[in-house]
Amino acid sequence: MAVQLESLPFDPAAELARFESSLPVGSVGASASFVGTMRNHNEGDEVTAMMLEHYPGMTEKQLEEVIADAAQRWDIIDALIVHRTGNITPGDPIVLTAVCSAHRAAAFDACRFLMEALKSRATFWKKETLANGQQRWVENNTPG
């Protein structure tokens, strides 16, 4: 069970490969993963950049709690959350959640739970830069 905050761009495929290679061969039957990527549009406006602020110390703790909750609710073998911070451009991965389990229902359910829980609970805030140079704080998170 691991949480990683990354202040520089990360490669979800490489993180996933590393995560999976650390698992015992033969016990894992299912791996579900999700990658959230920065889009170049939000709420009808063209977005050229984004700054992701967090609360160092609290954010990591919250992500660890989210994983602990998932491990309590589902029979999972391992889970991973990687989340960007800092300055992001369109196309950059923002977040990766991954869950391995023996059977697929637990992996699917827990992976989705990690995303929904971190979006509602973890202290991250997005500030967008629009094409016209204007900056704005994102006020509401997208519904799941």
Binding site: E53, Y55, M58, H83, M115, K119, T123, K126, K127, N141
Partner: protein, 77 residues
Amino acid sequence: MAIKVKFFASLREQISEGLEQVDATGIQTISDVWERATQTQLMPERVLCSVNLEHREPHEAVSDGDEVAFFPPVTGG
């Protein structure tokens, strides 16, 4: 005899004169911390808060040495 105060995101920008720490004397709740740190502004309803990295409600108690943070609704992921 001090309480550490943090503001995040839009709040950090709006409350540019906010104090990074306040004297704990006479402070009982999170709301008290807000009023002293922001110097009289009443704490808006949409503001979320934490004490020592745990989410808390504005009426909850704080103690000397605590770290209190104020922030808008989260928008990560």
